[in-house]
Protein backbone atom coordinates (compact mmCIF):
# COMPACT_ATOMS: atom_id res chain seq x y z
CA UNK A 1 0.00 0.00 0.00
CA UNK A 2 2.68 2.42 1.04
CA UNK A 3 4.77 1.33 -1.90
CA UNK A 4 1.92 2.09 -4.29
CA UNK A 5 1.58 5.58 -2.84
CA UNK A 6 5.32 6.20 -3.19
CA UNK A 7 5.40 4.94 -6.76
CA UNK A 8 2.32 6.99 -7.58
CA UNK A 9 3.99 10.12 -6.24
CA UNK A 10 7.08 9.21 -8.26
CA UNK A 11 5.04 8.95 -11.44
CA UNK A 12 3.41 12.33 -10.75
CA UNK A 13 6.80 13.97 -10.28
CA UNK A 14 8.10 12.32 -13.46
CA UNK A 15 5.05 13.54 -15.37
CA UNK A 16 5.37 17.12 -14.12
CA UNK A 17 9.09 17.23 -14.88
CA UNK A 18 9.12 15.57 -18.26
CA UNK A 19 5.78 16.61 -19.70
CA UNK A 20 6.83 19.99 -21.20
CA UNK A 21 9.75 18.34 -22.96
CA UNK A 22 7.48 15.61 -24.26
CA UNK A 23 4.87 18.17 -25.32
CA UNK A 24 7.49 20.17 -27.20
CA UNK A 25 8.67 17.17 -29.22
CA UNK A 26 5.15 15.83 -29.68
CA UNK A 27 3.81 19.16 -30.95
CA UNK A 28 6.74 19.52 -33.34
CA UNK A 29 5.73 16.25 -35.02
CA UNK A 30 2.02 17.02 -35.40
CA UNK A 31 0.47 18.47 -38.54
CA UNK A 32 -0.96 21.95 -37.95
CA UNK A 33 -4.52 20.64 -38.08
CA UNK A 34 -3.78 18.48 -35.05
CA UNK A 35 -1.98 21.26 -33.18
CA UNK A 36 -4.86 23.66 -33.51
CA UNK A 37 -7.67 21.14 -33.14
CA UNK A 38 -10.28 21.72 -30.44
CA UNK A 39 -9.26 18.55 -28.60
CA UNK A 40 -5.51 18.14 -28.07
CA UNK A 41 -4.06 14.81 -29.17
CA UNK A 42 -1.81 13.24 -26.52
CA UNK A 43 0.36 11.68 -29.22
CA UNK A 44 0.75 12.71 -32.86
CA UNK A 45 -1.73 10.54 -34.79
CA UNK A 46 -0.25 11.54 -38.14
CA UNK A 47 3.38 12.30 -37.34
CA UNK A 48 5.08 14.55 -39.86
CA UNK A 49 8.44 16.26 -40.28
CA UNK A 50 6.83 19.13 -42.17
CA UNK A 51 7.64 21.73 -39.50
CA UNK A 52 11.29 20.67 -39.45
CA UNK A 53 11.40 20.85 -43.22
CA UNK A 54 9.82 24.29 -43.09
CA UNK A 55 12.33 25.82 -40.69
CA UNK A 56 15.35 24.05 -42.17
CA UNK A 57 14.69 24.91 -45.79
CA UNK A 58 12.84 28.21 -45.59
CA UNK A 59 14.37 31.59 -44.87
CA UNK A 60 13.27 33.38 -41.71
CA UNK A 61 14.34 36.68 -43.20
CA UNK A 62 15.54 37.20 -46.78
CA UNK A 63 18.81 35.37 -47.20
CA UNK A 64 19.06 34.09 -43.62
CA UNK A 65 17.83 30.65 -42.60
CA UNK A 66 17.47 28.79 -39.34
CA UNK A 67 20.74 27.00 -40.09
CA UNK A 68 22.60 30.32 -40.24
CA UNK A 69 21.42 31.16 -36.73
CA UNK A 70 22.31 27.67 -35.62
CA UNK A 71 25.82 28.12 -37.03
CA UNK A 72 26.19 31.54 -35.38
CA UNK A 73 25.31 29.98 -32.06
CA UNK A 74 27.61 27.02 -32.61
CA UNK A 75 30.50 29.27 -33.62
CA UNK A 76 30.10 31.42 -30.51
CA UNK A 77 29.71 28.43 -28.19
CA UNK A 78 32.63 26.45 -29.59
CA UNK A 79 34.97 29.45 -29.52
CA UNK A 80 33.97 30.09 -25.92
CA UNK A 81 34.59 26.47 -25.01
CA UNK A 82 38.07 26.32 -26.55
CA UNK A 83 39.27 29.60 -25.05
CA UNK A 84 37.72 29.02 -21.67
CA UNK A 85 39.02 25.45 -21.45
CA UNK A 86 42.56 26.49 -22.27
CA UNK A 87 42.71 29.37 -19.81
CA UNK A 88 40.91 27.41 -17.11
CA UNK A 89 43.31 24.48 -17.41
CA UNK A 90 46.30 26.74 -16.82
CA UNK A 91 44.69 28.43 -13.84
CA UNK A 92 43.42 25.14 -12.38
CA UNK A 93 46.91 23.68 -12.59
CA UNK A 94 48.29 26.67 -10.73
CA UNK A 95 45.71 26.35 -7.97
CA UNK A 96 45.78 22.58 -7.64
CA UNK A 97 49.51 22.00 -7.98
CA UNK A 98 51.18 24.93 -6.25
CA UNK A 99 51.03 26.55 -2.86
CA UNK A 100 51.57 30.28 -3.25
CA UNK A 101 50.75 33.41 -1.40
CA UNK A 102 47.62 34.52 -3.23
CA UNK A 103 46.16 31.04 -3.70
CA UNK A 104 43.42 31.33 -1.10
CA UNK A 105 42.56 34.86 -2.17
CA UNK A 106 42.21 33.66 -5.74
CA UNK A 107 39.89 30.83 -4.72
CA UNK A 108 37.72 33.18 -2.68
CA UNK A 109 37.62 35.56 -5.62
CA UNK A 110 36.50 32.71 -7.91
CA UNK A 111 33.59 32.02 -5.59
CA UNK A 112 32.64 35.65 -5.29
CA UNK A 113 32.74 36.48 -9.01
CA UNK A 114 30.48 33.53 -9.73
CA UNK A 115 27.89 35.33 -7.64
CA UNK A 116 28.09 38.60 -9.58
CA UNK A 117 24.64 39.08 -11.11
CA UNK A 118 25.48 39.00 -14.81
CA UNK A 119 22.25 40.88 -15.47
CA UNK A 120 23.90 43.85 -13.77
CA UNK A 121 26.81 43.77 -16.20
CA UNK A 122 24.81 44.22 -19.40
CA UNK A 123 25.12 48.01 -19.32
CA UNK A 124 28.87 48.31 -18.58
CA UNK A 125 29.73 45.51 -20.99
CA UNK A 126 27.59 47.19 -23.64
CA UNK A 127 29.75 50.26 -23.06
CA UNK A 128 32.93 48.20 -23.41
CA UNK A 129 31.71 46.50 -26.57
CA UNK A 130 30.80 49.89 -28.07
CA UNK A 131 34.21 51.32 -27.21
CA UNK A 132 36.04 48.32 -28.63
CA UNK A 133 34.06 48.61 -31.85
CA UNK A 134 32.75 45.07 -31.40
CA UNK A 135 29.06 46.00 -31.46
CA UNK A 136 27.12 43.78 -33.84
CA UNK A 137 29.86 41.17 -34.02
CA UNK A 138 29.96 37.60 -32.76
CA UNK A 139 33.35 38.15 -31.01
CA UNK A 140 31.54 40.52 -28.63
CA UNK A 141 29.57 37.51 -27.40
CA UNK A 142 32.55 35.14 -27.35
CA UNK A 143 34.42 37.60 -25.16
CA UNK A 144 31.46 38.05 -22.83
CA UNK A 145 30.74 34.35 -22.44
CA UNK A 146 34.42 33.65 -21.89
CA UNK A 147 34.28 35.87 -18.82
CA UNK A 148 31.07 34.25 -17.61
CA UNK A 149 32.13 30.64 -18.00
CA UNK A 150 35.71 30.92 -16.79
CA UNK A 151 35.25 31.10 -12.99
CA UNK A 152 33.11 27.97 -12.85
CA UNK A 153 35.43 26.20 -15.30
CA UNK A 154 38.48 26.88 -13.12
CA UNK A 155 36.56 25.89 -10.00
CA UNK A 156 35.54 22.59 -11.57
CA UNK A 157 38.84 21.74 -13.29
CA UNK A 158 40.72 22.35 -10.05
CA UNK A 159 39.23 19.15 -8.67
CA UNK A 160 40.20 17.14 -11.75
CA UNK A 161 43.79 18.36 -11.71
CA UNK A 162 44.08 17.69 -7.99
CA UNK A 163 42.82 14.15 -8.56
CA UNK A 164 45.79 13.29 -10.82
CA UNK A 165 48.38 11.61 -8.57
CA UNK A 166 51.32 13.91 -8.09
CA UNK A 167 53.65 10.92 -8.08
CA UNK A 168 53.13 10.52 -11.82
CA UNK A 169 54.44 13.98 -12.49
CA UNK A 170 57.29 13.51 -10.07
CA UNK A 171 58.25 10.29 -11.78
CA UNK A 172 58.28 12.06 -15.13
CA UNK A 173 60.35 14.86 -13.64
CA UNK A 174 62.91 12.37 -12.34
CA UNK A 175 63.04 10.85 -15.80
CA UNK A 176 64.12 14.27 -17.00
CA UNK A 177 60.90 15.60 -18.52
CA UNK A 178 60.57 19.37 -18.63
CA UNK A 179 57.65 21.19 -17.03
CA UNK A 180 56.04 21.73 -20.42
CA UNK A 181 56.46 18.07 -21.31
CA UNK A 182 54.94 16.96 -18.02
CA UNK A 183 52.01 19.26 -18.62
CA UNK A 184 51.45 18.03 -22.16
CA UNK A 185 52.25 14.33 -21.83
CA UNK A 186 51.22 13.48 -18.27
CA UNK A 187 48.78 15.96 -16.85
CA UNK A 188 46.80 16.83 -19.97
CA UNK A 189 45.77 13.30 -21.00
CA UNK A 190 44.73 12.48 -17.44
CA UNK A 191 42.70 15.67 -17.05
CA UNK A 192 41.10 15.35 -20.50
CA UNK A 193 37.84 13.77 -19.25
CA UNK A 194 37.47 16.58 -16.75
CA UNK A 195 38.19 19.06 -19.49
CA UNK A 196 35.39 17.56 -21.57
CA UNK A 197 32.96 17.87 -18.67
CA UNK A 198 34.00 21.45 -18.02
CA UNK A 199 33.73 22.29 -21.71
CA UNK A 200 30.17 21.07 -21.80
CA UNK A 201 29.22 23.51 -19.06
CA UNK A 202 30.87 26.37 -20.89
CA UNK A 203 29.10 25.27 -24.04
CA UNK A 204 25.69 25.25 -22.37
CA UNK A 205 26.33 28.67 -20.82
CA UNK A 206 27.16 30.17 -24.20
CA UNK A 207 24.53 28.26 -26.14
CA UNK A 208 21.63 29.24 -23.85
CA UNK A 209 22.47 32.88 -23.22
CA UNK A 210 19.86 35.39 -24.31
CA UNK A 211 20.19 38.85 -22.71
CA UNK A 212 23.65 39.78 -23.95
CA UNK A 213 23.04 38.34 -27.39
CA UNK A 214 19.87 40.38 -27.53
CA UNK A 215 21.73 43.55 -26.61
CA UNK A 216 25.02 43.27 -28.49
CA UNK A 217 23.70 42.08 -31.84
CA UNK A 218 21.48 44.28 -33.94
CA UNK A 219 22.17 42.87 -37.37
CA UNK A 220 19.68 40.07 -38.02
CA UNK A 221 22.20 37.99 -39.97
CA UNK A 222 24.37 37.76 -36.85
CA UNK A 223 21.61 36.74 -34.45
CA UNK A 224 22.29 33.72 -32.33
CA UNK A 225 19.58 31.09 -32.10
CA UNK A 226 18.03 32.28 -28.80
CA UNK A 227 17.67 35.82 -30.14
CA UNK A 228 16.28 34.61 -33.43
CA UNK A 229 13.74 32.50 -31.58
CA UNK A 230 12.49 35.31 -29.36
CA UNK A 231 12.47 37.67 -32.29
CA UNK A 232 10.70 35.57 -34.86
CA UNK A 233 8.54 33.42 -32.64
CA UNK A 234 7.76 35.72 -29.76
CA UNK A 235 5.07 37.49 -31.73
CA UNK A 236 1.40 37.25 -30.93
CA UNK A 237 -0.46 34.71 -33.04
CA UNK A 238 2.27 32.17 -32.97
CA UNK A 239 2.56 29.27 -35.36
CA UNK A 240 3.42 26.66 -32.75
CA UNK A 241 4.45 23.85 -35.10
CA UNK A 242 7.63 25.46 -36.43
CA UNK A 243 8.28 27.07 -33.02
CA UNK A 244 8.28 23.68 -31.31
CA UNK A 245 10.43 22.17 -34.07
CA UNK A 246 12.97 24.96 -33.64
CA UNK A 247 12.80 24.62 -29.85
CA UNK A 248 13.45 20.91 -30.14
CA UNK A 249 16.47 21.43 -32.38
CA UNK A 250 17.78 24.03 -29.94
CA UNK A 251 17.15 21.91 -26.85
CA UNK A 252 18.32 18.44 -27.89
CA UNK A 253 22.08 19.15 -27.96
CA UNK A 254 21.82 20.75 -24.53
CA UNK A 255 19.93 17.82 -23.03
CA UNK A 256 22.37 15.30 -24.47
CA UNK A 257 25.42 17.20 -23.24
CA UNK A 258 23.80 17.91 -19.92
CA UNK A 259 23.01 14.30 -19.17
CA UNK A 260 26.66 13.47 -19.83
CA UNK A 261 27.89 15.75 -17.07
CA UNK A 262 25.09 16.42 -14.61
CA UNK A 263 26.85 14.54 -11.79
CA UNK A 264 29.69 17.06 -11.77
CA UNK A 265 27.22 19.91 -11.68
CA UNK A 266 25.97 18.98 -8.23
CA UNK A 267 29.40 18.32 -6.80
CA UNK A 268 30.72 21.56 -8.30
CA UNK A 269 27.99 23.79 -6.96
CA UNK A 270 27.61 22.25 -3.53
CA UNK A 271 31.39 21.96 -3.29
CA UNK A 272 32.30 20.23 -0.09
CA UNK A 273 28.88 20.53 1.48
CA UNK A 274 28.50 16.78 1.65
CA UNK A 275 31.27 14.59 2.95
CA UNK A 276 32.01 11.15 1.60
Amino acid sequence: MKKIALNGAGLLVALFAAFPVYWMISTSLKPSSEIFSATPQPVPTHPTLAHYREILTGNLIPGVSFLDFFLNSALVAVSTVVLSGLVALLAATAVARFRFKLRTSFLIMLLVVQMIPLEALVIPLFLMIQRLGLYNTLPSLILTYLGFSLPFAVWMLRGFVAAVPKELEEAAAIDGASRAQIFRRVLFPLVAPGLVATSIFSFITAWNELIFALTFINDQGSYTLPVAMTFFFGRDDTNWGPVMAASTLFTLPVIIFFLLVQRRMVSGLVAGAVKG
Binding site: A17, P20, M244, F250, I255
Partner: protein, 328 residues
Protein backbone atom coordinates in the same frame (compact mmCIF):
# COMPACT_ATOMS: atom_id res chain seq x y z
CA UNK B 1 53.34 19.37 -0.01
CA UNK B 2 54.69 22.35 -1.85
CA UNK B 3 56.29 22.17 -5.25
CA UNK B 4 59.36 23.97 -3.98
CA UNK B 5 60.31 21.11 -1.70
CA UNK B 6 60.32 18.55 -4.47
CA UNK B 7 61.95 20.60 -7.18
CA UNK B 8 65.58 20.19 -6.00
CA UNK B 9 65.31 16.52 -6.92
CA UNK B 10 64.73 17.21 -10.59
CA UNK B 11 67.53 17.14 -13.10
CA UNK B 12 67.18 20.79 -13.97
CA UNK B 13 67.34 21.78 -10.35
CA UNK B 14 70.56 19.87 -9.81
CA UNK B 15 72.21 21.82 -12.55
CA UNK B 16 71.20 25.20 -11.26
CA UNK B 17 69.20 25.09 -8.03
CA UNK B 18 68.87 28.84 -7.52
CA UNK B 19 67.52 29.56 -10.99
CA UNK B 20 65.20 26.61 -10.89
CA UNK B 21 63.67 27.71 -7.60
CA UNK B 22 63.02 31.22 -8.78
CA UNK B 23 61.28 29.93 -11.91
CA UNK B 24 59.04 27.60 -9.96
CA UNK B 25 58.04 30.48 -7.71
CA UNK B 26 56.85 32.49 -10.62
CA UNK B 27 55.19 29.71 -12.57
CA UNK B 28 51.84 29.61 -10.70
CA UNK B 29 51.40 33.34 -11.26
CA UNK B 30 52.17 32.96 -14.95
CA UNK B 31 49.59 30.20 -15.20
CA UNK B 32 47.03 32.35 -13.43
CA UNK B 33 47.72 35.44 -15.48
CA UNK B 34 45.31 34.83 -18.40
CA UNK B 35 42.47 33.88 -16.06
CA UNK B 36 43.11 36.89 -13.86
CA UNK B 37 43.17 39.18 -16.87
CA UNK B 38 39.91 37.84 -18.23
CA UNK B 39 38.11 37.91 -14.88
CA UNK B 40 39.48 41.37 -14.20
CA UNK B 41 38.56 42.88 -17.54
CA UNK B 42 35.27 41.11 -18.19
CA UNK B 43 33.79 40.80 -14.69
CA UNK B 44 35.46 43.02 -12.13
CA UNK B 45 36.04 46.08 -14.29
CA UNK B 46 32.41 46.16 -15.53
CA UNK B 47 31.27 45.72 -11.94
CA UNK B 48 33.14 48.89 -11.03
CA UNK B 49 32.06 50.58 -14.22
CA UNK B 50 28.37 50.02 -13.52
CA UNK B 51 28.80 51.93 -10.26
CA UNK B 52 30.60 54.75 -12.06
CA UNK B 53 27.91 54.90 -14.75
CA UNK B 54 25.17 55.13 -12.14
CA UNK B 55 26.48 58.60 -11.19
CA UNK B 56 26.11 60.06 -14.69
CA UNK B 57 23.23 61.00 -16.92
CA UNK B 58 23.78 58.81 -19.95
CA UNK B 59 21.01 58.95 -22.49
CA UNK B 60 22.69 58.17 -25.80
CA UNK B 61 24.99 55.59 -27.33
CA UNK B 62 27.27 58.42 -28.45
CA UNK B 63 28.03 59.18 -24.82
CA UNK B 64 28.95 55.55 -24.29
CA UNK B 65 31.29 55.62 -27.28
CA UNK B 66 32.94 58.67 -25.75
CA UNK B 67 31.87 61.07 -28.52
CA UNK B 68 29.91 63.20 -26.08
CA UNK B 69 30.60 64.26 -22.52
CA UNK B 70 29.15 62.58 -19.46
CA UNK B 71 27.19 64.97 -17.20
CA UNK B 72 27.81 64.07 -13.54
CA UNK B 73 24.60 63.88 -11.52
CA UNK B 74 25.90 62.45 -8.26
CA UNK B 75 23.20 60.44 -6.56
CA UNK B 76 20.60 61.96 -8.89
CA UNK B 77 19.71 58.64 -10.52
CA UNK B 78 19.30 56.97 -7.15
CA UNK B 79 17.09 59.80 -5.92
CA UNK B 80 14.97 59.50 -9.07
CA UNK B 81 14.52 55.76 -8.58
CA UNK B 82 13.94 55.72 -4.86
CA UNK B 83 11.46 58.61 -4.93
CA UNK B 84 9.45 56.98 -7.73
CA UNK B 85 6.55 55.01 -6.22
CA UNK B 86 7.00 52.55 -9.09
CA UNK B 87 10.26 51.40 -7.54
CA UNK B 88 8.32 50.15 -4.52
CA UNK B 89 6.15 48.04 -6.83
CA UNK B 90 9.24 46.60 -8.48
CA UNK B 91 10.95 45.89 -5.17
CA UNK B 92 7.80 44.29 -3.76
CA UNK B 93 7.44 42.14 -6.90
CA UNK B 94 11.09 41.07 -6.70
CA UNK B 95 11.13 40.21 -3.01
CA UNK B 96 7.76 38.45 -2.93
CA UNK B 97 8.57 36.53 -6.10
CA UNK B 98 11.97 35.44 -4.81
CA UNK B 99 10.55 34.45 -1.42
CA UNK B 100 7.70 32.43 -2.92
CA UNK B 101 9.97 30.74 -5.45
CA UNK B 102 12.72 29.86 -2.98
CA UNK B 103 10.15 28.42 -0.59
CA UNK B 104 8.31 26.40 -3.24
CA UNK B 105 11.51 25.22 -4.93
CA UNK B 106 13.03 24.12 -1.63
CA UNK B 107 9.89 22.33 -0.45
CA UNK B 108 9.23 20.56 -3.74
CA UNK B 109 12.93 19.79 -4.31
CA UNK B 110 13.36 18.38 -0.82
CA UNK B 111 10.22 16.26 -1.08
CA UNK B 112 11.36 14.87 -4.43
CA UNK B 113 14.84 14.21 -3.01
CA UNK B 114 13.34 12.30 -0.07
CA UNK B 115 11.05 10.45 -2.45
CA UNK B 116 13.90 9.42 -4.75
CA UNK B 117 15.72 8.06 -1.71
CA UNK B 118 12.77 5.83 -0.80
CA UNK B 119 11.84 4.52 -4.26
CA UNK B 120 13.04 1.21 -5.61
CA UNK B 121 16.08 1.31 -7.88
CA UNK B 122 14.32 1.10 -11.23
CA UNK B 123 11.61 3.57 -10.31
CA UNK B 124 14.15 5.98 -8.81
CA UNK B 125 16.23 5.89 -11.99
CA UNK B 126 13.17 6.54 -14.11
CA UNK B 127 11.93 9.47 -12.00
CA UNK B 128 15.43 10.93 -11.69
CA UNK B 129 15.86 10.80 -15.48
CA UNK B 130 12.61 12.68 -15.99
CA UNK B 131 13.62 15.24 -13.38
CA UNK B 132 16.94 15.70 -15.20
CA UNK B 133 15.04 16.54 -18.38
CA UNK B 134 13.43 19.54 -16.69
CA UNK B 135 16.80 20.63 -15.34
CA UNK B 136 18.57 20.27 -18.68
CA UNK B 137 16.00 22.16 -20.71
CA UNK B 138 17.27 25.68 -21.49
CA UNK B 139 15.37 28.47 -19.75
CA UNK B 140 14.44 29.85 -23.16
CA UNK B 141 12.81 26.80 -24.70
CA UNK B 142 11.35 25.61 -21.41
CA UNK B 143 9.54 28.93 -21.12
CA UNK B 144 8.40 28.86 -24.75
CA UNK B 145 6.81 25.44 -24.20
CA UNK B 146 4.99 26.65 -21.06
CA UNK B 147 3.78 29.61 -23.06
CA UNK B 148 2.38 27.19 -25.61
CA UNK B 149 0.74 25.14 -22.86
CA UNK B 150 -0.99 28.35 -21.70
CA UNK B 151 -1.85 29.50 -25.23
CA UNK B 152 -5.24 31.22 -25.22
CA UNK B 153 -6.75 29.27 -28.13
CA UNK B 154 -5.18 25.82 -28.54
CA UNK B 155 -3.16 25.59 -25.32
CA UNK B 156 -3.56 22.58 -23.11
CA UNK B 157 -4.61 24.59 -20.04
CA UNK B 158 -7.25 26.49 -21.98
CA UNK B 159 -8.60 23.17 -23.22
CA UNK B 160 -8.57 21.71 -19.68
CA UNK B 161 -10.59 24.63 -18.33
CA UNK B 162 -12.98 24.41 -21.28
CA UNK B 163 -13.41 20.73 -20.48
CA UNK B 164 -14.69 21.53 -17.00
CA UNK B 165 -18.47 21.15 -16.68
CA UNK B 166 -19.94 24.56 -17.53
CA UNK B 167 -21.86 24.81 -14.25
CA UNK B 168 -18.79 24.09 -12.14
CA UNK B 169 -16.61 26.45 -14.14
CA UNK B 170 -19.25 29.18 -13.88
CA UNK B 171 -19.70 28.88 -10.14
CA UNK B 172 -15.96 28.75 -9.51
CA UNK B 173 -14.62 31.33 -11.95
CA UNK B 174 -17.68 33.06 -13.33
CA UNK B 175 -17.04 31.90 -16.89
CA UNK B 176 -17.31 28.70 -18.86
CA UNK B 177 -15.70 29.64 -22.17
CA UNK B 178 -11.96 29.99 -21.71
CA UNK B 179 -11.01 30.34 -25.37
CA UNK B 180 -9.23 33.65 -25.79
CA UNK B 181 -8.67 34.06 -22.05
CA UNK B 182 -5.43 35.98 -21.54
CA UNK B 183 -3.56 33.90 -18.98
CA UNK B 184 -0.78 36.47 -18.80
CA UNK B 185 -2.88 39.61 -18.55
CA UNK B 186 -3.35 39.98 -14.82
CA UNK B 187 -0.09 40.49 -12.89
CA UNK B 188 -1.05 37.93 -10.27
CA UNK B 189 -1.72 35.18 -12.82
CA UNK B 190 1.42 36.17 -14.71
CA UNK B 191 3.49 35.73 -11.56
CA UNK B 192 1.76 32.44 -10.79
CA UNK B 193 2.71 31.07 -14.21
CA UNK B 194 6.22 32.52 -13.97
CA UNK B 195 6.56 30.80 -10.60
CA UNK B 196 5.44 27.53 -12.15
CA UNK B 197 8.06 27.88 -14.89
CA UNK B 198 10.88 28.86 -12.54
CA UNK B 199 10.08 26.18 -9.95
CA UNK B 200 9.84 23.60 -12.73
CA UNK B 201 13.33 24.62 -13.89
CA UNK B 202 14.95 24.80 -10.49
CA UNK B 203 13.52 22.05 -8.28
CA UNK B 204 15.59 19.29 -9.97
CA UNK B 205 18.85 20.78 -8.74
CA UNK B 206 17.52 20.89 -5.17
CA UNK B 207 16.17 17.34 -5.44
CA UNK B 208 19.42 15.91 -6.75
CA UNK B 209 21.51 17.78 -4.17
CA UNK B 210 19.27 16.67 -1.30
CA UNK B 211 19.42 13.12 -2.62
CA UNK B 212 23.23 13.27 -2.73
CA UNK B 213 23.17 14.52 0.85
CA UNK B 214 20.82 11.76 1.98
CA UNK B 215 23.04 9.11 0.42
CA UNK B 216 25.93 10.35 2.55
CA UNK B 217 23.96 10.02 5.79
CA UNK B 218 24.18 6.58 7.44
CA UNK B 219 20.76 4.99 6.98
CA UNK B 220 20.94 3.23 10.37
CA UNK B 221 19.94 6.47 12.07
CA UNK B 222 16.70 6.70 10.09
CA UNK B 223 15.92 3.05 10.55
CA UNK B 224 16.48 3.23 14.29
CA UNK B 225 14.18 6.23 14.57
CA UNK B 226 11.53 4.55 12.48
CA UNK B 227 11.72 1.37 14.53
CA UNK B 228 11.19 3.54 17.61
CA UNK B 229 7.94 4.67 16.02
CA UNK B 230 8.88 8.25 15.05
CA UNK B 231 6.66 9.79 12.36
CA UNK B 232 8.29 10.70 9.01
CA UNK B 233 7.76 14.37 9.88
CA UNK B 234 9.68 13.96 13.15
CA UNK B 235 12.42 11.86 11.51
CA UNK B 236 12.96 14.62 8.97
CA UNK B 237 13.17 17.50 11.46
CA UNK B 238 15.04 15.63 14.20
CA UNK B 239 17.52 13.62 12.12
CA UNK B 240 17.64 14.40 8.40
CA UNK B 241 17.46 18.17 8.59
CA UNK B 242 20.13 18.67 11.29
CA UNK B 243 22.51 16.34 9.43
CA UNK B 244 21.96 18.09 6.11
CA UNK B 245 21.83 21.59 7.53
CA UNK B 246 24.94 22.74 5.60
CA UNK B 247 23.50 21.45 2.32
CA UNK B 248 20.21 23.19 2.93
CA UNK B 249 22.01 26.40 3.87
CA UNK B 250 23.91 26.53 0.59
CA UNK B 251 20.90 25.50 -1.48
CA UNK B 252 18.73 28.22 0.02
CA UNK B 253 21.35 30.87 -0.61
CA UNK B 254 21.94 29.72 -4.20
CA UNK B 255 18.20 29.63 -4.90
CA UNK B 256 17.77 33.08 -3.42
CA UNK B 257 20.49 34.47 -5.65
CA UNK B 258 19.02 32.83 -8.75
CA UNK B 259 15.43 33.80 -8.05
CA UNK B 260 16.30 37.42 -7.35
CA UNK B 261 17.61 37.94 -10.87
CA UNK B 262 15.24 35.91 -13.03
CA UNK B 263 15.31 37.45 -16.48
CA UNK B 264 15.03 35.07 -19.43
CA UNK B 265 11.83 33.37 -18.26
CA UNK B 266 10.16 36.68 -17.56
CA UNK B 267 11.34 38.26 -20.80
CA UNK B 268 10.01 35.38 -22.89
CA UNK B 269 6.76 34.96 -20.97
CA UNK B 270 5.98 38.68 -21.12
CA UNK B 271 7.13 38.88 -24.74
CA UNK B 272 9.64 41.67 -24.09
CA UNK B 273 9.96 44.58 -21.71
CA UNK B 274 6.59 46.29 -22.05
CA UNK B 275 4.70 44.72 -19.18
CA UNK B 276 5.62 47.24 -16.49
CA UNK B 277 3.26 46.08 -13.70
CA UNK B 278 5.14 42.77 -13.53
CA UNK B 279 8.63 44.29 -13.57
CA UNK B 280 11.25 42.95 -11.19
CA UNK B 281 14.67 44.50 -10.58
CA UNK B 282 16.62 42.71 -13.34
CA UNK B 283 14.16 43.43 -16.13
CA UNK B 284 13.47 46.95 -14.78
CA UNK B 285 17.16 47.79 -15.03
CA UNK B 286 17.33 46.38 -18.55
CA UNK B 287 14.19 48.16 -19.74
CA UNK B 288 15.29 51.54 -18.39
CA UNK B 289 18.67 51.20 -20.05
CA UNK B 290 17.76 49.76 -23.42
CA UNK B 291 14.14 50.53 -24.23
CA UNK B 292 13.99 53.78 -26.14
CA UNK B 293 14.68 56.41 -24.95
CA UNK B 294 17.76 54.78 -23.43
CA UNK B 295 18.67 55.74 -19.87
CA UNK B 296 21.92 53.91 -19.23
CA UNK B 297 22.74 55.82 -16.04
CA UNK B 298 19.37 55.09 -14.48
CA UNK B 299 19.53 51.45 -15.51
CA UNK B 300 23.02 51.21 -14.01
CA UNK B 301 21.75 52.61 -10.70
CA UNK B 302 19.03 49.94 -10.57
CA UNK B 303 21.63 47.30 -11.40
CA UNK B 304 23.76 48.56 -8.50
CA UNK B 305 20.81 48.26 -6.13
CA UNK B 306 20.20 44.69 -7.30
CA UNK B 307 23.89 43.88 -6.88
CA UNK B 308 23.98 45.29 -3.36
CA UNK B 309 21.05 43.13 -2.32
CA UNK B 310 22.72 40.06 -3.78
CA UNK B 311 26.04 40.99 -2.20
CA UNK B 312 24.56 40.46 1.24
CA UNK B 313 23.23 37.05 0.23
CA UNK B 314 26.57 36.16 -1.37
CA UNK B 315 28.36 37.02 1.86
CA UNK B 316 26.42 34.25 3.56
CA UNK B 317 27.19 31.84 0.74
CA UNK B 318 30.95 32.39 0.73
CA UNK B 319 31.11 32.03 4.50
CA UNK B 320 29.26 28.76 4.30
CA UNK B 321 31.37 27.29 1.49
CA UNK B 322 34.61 28.29 3.17
CA UNK B 323 33.48 26.64 6.40
CA UNK B 324 32.78 23.46 4.40
CA UNK B 325 36.18 23.54 2.73
CA UNK B 326 37.85 23.90 6.12
CA UNK B 327 36.00 20.92 7.52
CA UNK B 328 36.66 18.53 4.68
Amino acid sequence: MSSQTKSPETAAARENPARRRRRVDRLPYLLLLPALLIIGVLLLWPLGQVVVMSFYRLNSVRQLRGDREWPWVGFGNYVDILSDPFFLTVLRNTVLFAAANVLLTMVLGTLVGLLLNRLGRKMATFVASCVMLAWATPALTGTIVWKWIFDDTSGLVTWLFNALPDGLSNSLFGRSDWTGYGWFNSPLLFFAILTLVVVWHSFPFIAVSVLAGLKSVPSELHEAARVDGASPWRVFWKITFPLLRPVFGILIVLSTIWDFKVFTQQFVLAGGTQDRPTFMLAIYSYAEAFSPPPKYGLGAAIAVILTLILLVVTGFYVRMVLRQEDES
